[in-house]
Amino acid sequence: MKIITSFLLFFSLLPLAMADKKPKPLEVGFVYVSPTGEAGWTHTHDLGRQHIEKVFGNTIKTRYVESVKEGADAERVIMQMAKGGADLIFSTSFGFMNPTLKVAKRFPKVTFMHATGYKRAKNVSTYFDRIYEARYLSGVIAGHMSKSGISGYVAAFPIPEVIRGINAYTLGFRSVNPKGKIKVVWMNSWFDPAKEREAAESLIRQGADVIAQHTDSPGPVQGAEAAGVYAIGYHSDMSVYGKKAHLTSPVHNWNGFYEDTVNQVLKGTWKSTDTWEGYSANMTTLAPFNPAIPQSVINQVKQLEAQIKAKTLHPFTGPITSNKGKILAKKGQVIPDEELRKMQVYVEGVEGELPN
């Protein structure tokens, strides 16, 4: 009997003793909407995950689930992650917003970070980058490289985020190519390589010689490469899809932000907040430049980049008029964040009308 009791005692205390020796690593989970792949939105988040793994070594443990469908599936995956002992969860798609909040309510001790959303809670923060800053700069490059003065823009859905990008690109383009015209084609989908490529080719037939995009597939870059014109990618470096065509891409960089977040959670200083930062916080940048871009253009872009970084230049600084002639910002005035967040108007230089 005594032996059994001591055995039981030994085994019941064993975990305690072991826990004492080695602190449990912080478990960080990532929920992705698409495969990690070679390029694209999810790829940039996975680079961030790899970055914090490298920085924190054994003090954290990461895992991820890719290709999670938005909606009920997402809730199940996030729930399993929280149940499985994750301390910090990044859910990286707009459609994960409500599932994230629902799970967060049930797991108040777990920290949640939701990208691109607007709903927060005590243990849920939101974050996004000011990709429009990089779009503005890519517009400057495109404006210099375009001979016809016409650029095509393959766009996903007419929501403020996308419209803001079109406008920033247009402002950049026309800052160096004042008569420039931007033709927009809406896809009504985030991802359809074949359709996006056809859209790019259709724009090229209408005189566009630089194709920019706010969709997720490399279709537009491939279309530009085949037609021998230039392209601006999106999300991550897309040069593999068009060596000659690809000028640069506006790129998300989550590395530093993810590192900071993990640090805050480890130290216990994390607080629910909304982060919307760009160049100044090193969350937004441009992919490596095409060698075809002249040095003078690169110099100019580097200079503008430094100004944006120092916050002395804001892409949405007036005078800005809409393409219907309405004044959006007077000279020297900056369009405030609240208006940028709900932008539903084209600036001058964008052709056509916004679909409602």
Binding site: P35, G37, E38, S189, A194, K195, P218, V240
Partner: protein, 307 residues
């Protein structure tokens, strides 16, 4: 709008319509024999991923296309075994095949996600491609487009002129009667299902090796389903399948071109155009109720066993 622009739009139409045409021709053949295979989307994706993996491993597009076709046949083989020999419900099996194909292709292609290769380029036909307008339209395409036309002509001849075509129709209308006059119903259906799989696989290869030379999950974006709809609205006629596929392609291109030209119409309405135009035209063509009833294979989707 000048002539070059117009011929460029039509030539883009042909490219957009080609994967639809291939899938729809294959499925029409299968349905003519009384079998309904709703697994087109799955076979398309397996074809796309198999073709891409083979081509990027071997650096040979020919091997890529062979693998794409083999992938499609492999999927069709599963369908044929389950529905023809085990007499399972064809609709449920077809749906399962699609779900299976979507998942399996994502799994197989995980290491190739987002990768790209040098795709198949155009093969202009010498002399003929120099004819103005017509040359750019008909003789300046990639090989698969020519293949799709050959298949179309073959399919048309098959049902217009050949005994085999008659046999297939007999099997699709009344397998008992066909069996009574000595047609081997099950082997014939089996072979046709495999041919249908081969065509869907080829269409998948067209997507991942020609149209947009890359592999990503779900890259077919619903084209298998559209092809299925085209077969029905085309009332099982090869010429109308061709018309439907190209009409859908034309309207998709037109809606992109119209947006770029600043046509003042909601992008959402324009995006509906391909679907609406294809359905309206094909429904008008087949508005004769009696003819429609006659053209639908009577034994479609009904399991059959030799007594």
């Amino acid at each position: 709008m000048d002539l070059d622009f117009f011929s460029a739009i039509l030539s883009a139409t042909i490219r957009t319509g080609t994967p639809l045409l291939l899938v729809a021709l294959g499925e029409m053949l299968v349905e003519k024999s009384g079998v309904l295979n709703l697994g087109q989307e799955g076979m398309l994706l397996i074809g796309a991923v198999a073709g891409f993996i083979a081509a990027s491993q071997s650096d040979s597009l020919v091997l890529g296309f062979m693998a794409a076709i083999a992938g499609g046949i492999g999927m069709a083989f599963i369908f044929a075994i389950v529905t023809l020999f085990l007499n399972a419900n064809q609709i449920a099996t077809g749906l399962a095949l699609t779900i299976f194909g979507v998942g399996l292709s994502a799994f197989l292609g995980a290491d190739y996600e987002g990768k790209t290769i040098a795709g198949l380029t155009k093969t202009p036909i010498p002399l003929l491609s120099d004819i103005p307008f017509i040359g750019a339209l008909f003789f300046d395409h990639d090989v698969i487009v020519y293949v799709s036309w050959t298949l179309f002509i073959g399919m048309w001849l098959l049902f217009k002129k050949s005994t085999l075509g008659l046999n297939i129709r007999a099997v699709g209308e009344n397998p008992d009667a066909a069996n009574a006059i000595g047609i081997n119903v099950i082997p014939l259906r089996f072979a046709l299902v495999l041919v249908g799989g081969a065509l869907a696989g080829l269409a998948g290869g067209y997507l991942s090796l020609v149209y947009t030379p890359l592999w990503t999950e779900d890259m077919s974006a619903g084209r298998g389903w559209i092809a299925l709809a085209i077969v029905v609205f085309a009332s099982w006629k090869a010429t109308r399948v061709l018309l439907g596929a190209y009409l859908f392609g034309f309207a998709s291109i037109l809606h992109l071109a119209a947006q770029g030209m600043g046509v003042n119409l909601s992008a959402n309405l324009l995006a509906m155009l391909p679907y609406v135009a294809t359905i309206v035209v094909l429904v008008i063509l087949s508005r004769n109720k009696l003819k429609l009833q006659l053209s639908e294979p009577l034994a479609l989707a009904k399991p059959w066993r030799k007594e």
